[in-house]
């Protein structure tokens, strides 16, 4: 089996150097963030831009939109603060809320596309090669591992809870049970994370560098795609 077969990257966005993707994500986020309140057409163009990238990389944008929609309650919370504070008229506040919502939505969508098409270890490698301090990279790496670990522990405890839950659910009882489960989940996750860390240490992890088999090499195609994407973003900014 060849190295290439083990590292299958099936489309252009997956193949793209993660450093270029990070650069493009930052550029996209900045351009979206500085778009004025009245920039509806520009927002539409940004959305089409993301749609085109998703289509080219054979990713379902509908799924990403659904996942991003999970964050809408937080956006509503943000909206509440806009409506409660400030001296603007209600119409201006509504406009501001919608603009902020659209910007956040677009940036989160871009972030989803980024992580759907980038292996996490290549992302870490990219951070390292962009001279992000190794401590910060290690923190990101562990945070990523522990999110999944935490989710596994939640699944295990919820199964244990369900297997011993009988009769009709009462909200107060459920709240009491969950309040007992949360510290148990935290303790178990912490203990397991310590065991995993011990396993990493025992196989030579030196607490400093994250090493992977991948060697990032900037290709001509990466530079070309990066320049083209930046050009498109500039065109959108100028034309709309």
């Amino acid at each position: 089996m060849s190295q290439a077969k083990l590292n299958v990257r099936t489309n252009f966005l997956r193949k793209l150097d993660p450093r270029v993707k990070i650069f493009l994500f930052v550029a996209f986020s900045l351009t979206a963030a500085v778009t004025p309140v009245s920039g509806e057409r520009r927002f539409a163009a940004y959305f089409l831009f993301l749609l085109a990238i998703a289509a080219l990389s054979r990713q379902s944008l509908a799924r990403s939109i659904k996942q991003t929609a999970l964050l809408f309650p937080f956006l509503l919370g943000l909206g509440l603060t806009i409506f409660l504070f400030g001296r603007e008229t209600p119409a201006q506040k509504l406009n501001l809320f919608l603009t902020l919502g659209i910007k956040t939505f677009l940036i989160l969508l871009a972030l989803q596309l980024f992580f759907l098409t980038t292996e996490f270890y290549r992302f870490l490698k990219a951070l390292e090669s962009l001279r992000v301090p190794s401590l910060a990279v290690a923190i990101v790496s562990f945070a990523h591992r522990y999110v999944f670990l935490f989710r596994e522990e939640v699944d295990r405890l919820m199964k244990a809870k369900k297997s011993r839950t009988f009769g009709r659910k009462k909200i107060r009882r459920e709240i009491t049970i969950v309040s007992h489960l949360v510290p148990a989940i935290a303790t178990r996750s912490l203990e397991r994370s310590e065991r995993i860390y011990a396993a990493m240490l025992s196989r030579g992890y030196d607490r400093k560098t994250i090493r992977t088999l991948d060697v990032l090499k900037l290709r001509k195609e990466d530079i070309l795609v990066g320049c083209l994407a930046i050009f498109l973003l500039v065109v959108i900014m100028i034309v709309f």
């Binding site: 089996m1 190295q3 083990l6 292996e119 996490f120 270890y121 591992r145 397991r192 065991r195 995993i196 011990a198 396993a199 990493m200 240490l201 025992s202 196989r203 030579g204 992890y205 030196d206 090493r211 992977t212 088999l213 060697v215």
Partner: protein, 251 residues
């Protein structure tokens, strides 16, 4: 006399919650032998194993191939002592089985071609070929145990340390594992409650309880001593009982 590959002298360890796990443990392991560490739950077996490649360090001395386990020698020690954890889920943390098995070699900064060749060789040897792109989360316990073993064997350690290697396995998988362990020629240290497994593969046995070394000797002497084992919440394994019974039958 074969040369010593590992020596533990007066090793003690207390966890931050003040649980004393090891109290002045001393023993030596010789090249090529299979040492089994037995004892009830909480005897300190797993804690002791974690000291053998420096994951934990307590007062006392651990020497691997005549080199003390110190911070500066950890990298070298860990390449010589391969530790397989009790729960394979703790050992398999990478996105794919290939990445997990390659992890140690990548940390050693081996060339990519060598890593690929060694990983595929060990996966083939353990019957895990074809699973390299899969996530460990989707494997059976037997496959997980074998993968955890592969993550260590790929490093070609001189000393293989296994914590409860057969726990939770079905008889068939357990038998396969015992067969594999018998094939390996390197020095092995195995902590286990499975005394039938110990009787089958160990060349020497250490009994631990409450962080102390209680007894040390050949498998027949330790595993055949009913009072000693029952005094430390263990039982004489069925295989030893049967062997004794067969000896007493006049043929």
């Amino acid at each position: 006399m074969r040369d010593k590959v590992l020596e533990v002298k007066e090793l003690s360890f207390t966890y931050p919650d003040q649980t004393c796990a090891l109290r002045g443990v001393s023993f030596a392991v010789h090249r090529g032998e299979t040492l089994a560490i037995i004892g009830p739950n909480g005897a300190g077996k797993s804690t002791l194993l974690l000291h053998l490649n420096g994951v934990l360090r307590g007062p006392g001395r651990v020497e691997v191939l005549s080199e003390s386990v110190l911070r500066k020698s950890l990298r070298q020690i860990r390449s010589k002592v391969g530790l397989v954890f009790h729960d394979p889920d703790d050992q398999l943390f990478m996105p794919t089985i290939f990445d997990d098995v390659a992890f140690g070699l990548v940390q050693q900064e081996r060339p990519a071609d060598e890593i690929l060749e060694r990983v595929m060789r060990i996966l083939r040897a353990l019957g895990l070929e074809g699973l390299e792109r899969r996530s460990a989360a989707h494997l059976s316990l037997g496959e997980k145990k074998k993968t955890a073993l592969a993550t260590v064997l790929v490093l070609e350690p001189e000393i293989l340390v296994l914590d409860e290697p057969a726990s939770g396995l079905d008889p068939g998988t357990r038998r396969t594992l015992i067969g594999l362990l018998k094939k390996f020629s390197m020095t092995k240290i195995i902590a286990s409650h499975d005394l039938d497994l110990v009787a089958e593969i160990a060349s020497r046995v250490i009994l631990m309880d409450a962080g102390q070394l209680i007894a040390e000797g050949n498998p027949e002497a330790i595993l055949g001593n009913q009072d000693l084992l029952e005094g430390h919440r263990l039982e004489v394994p069925l295989s030893v009982v049967l062997r004794k019974a067969l000896k007493n039958i006049p043929l």
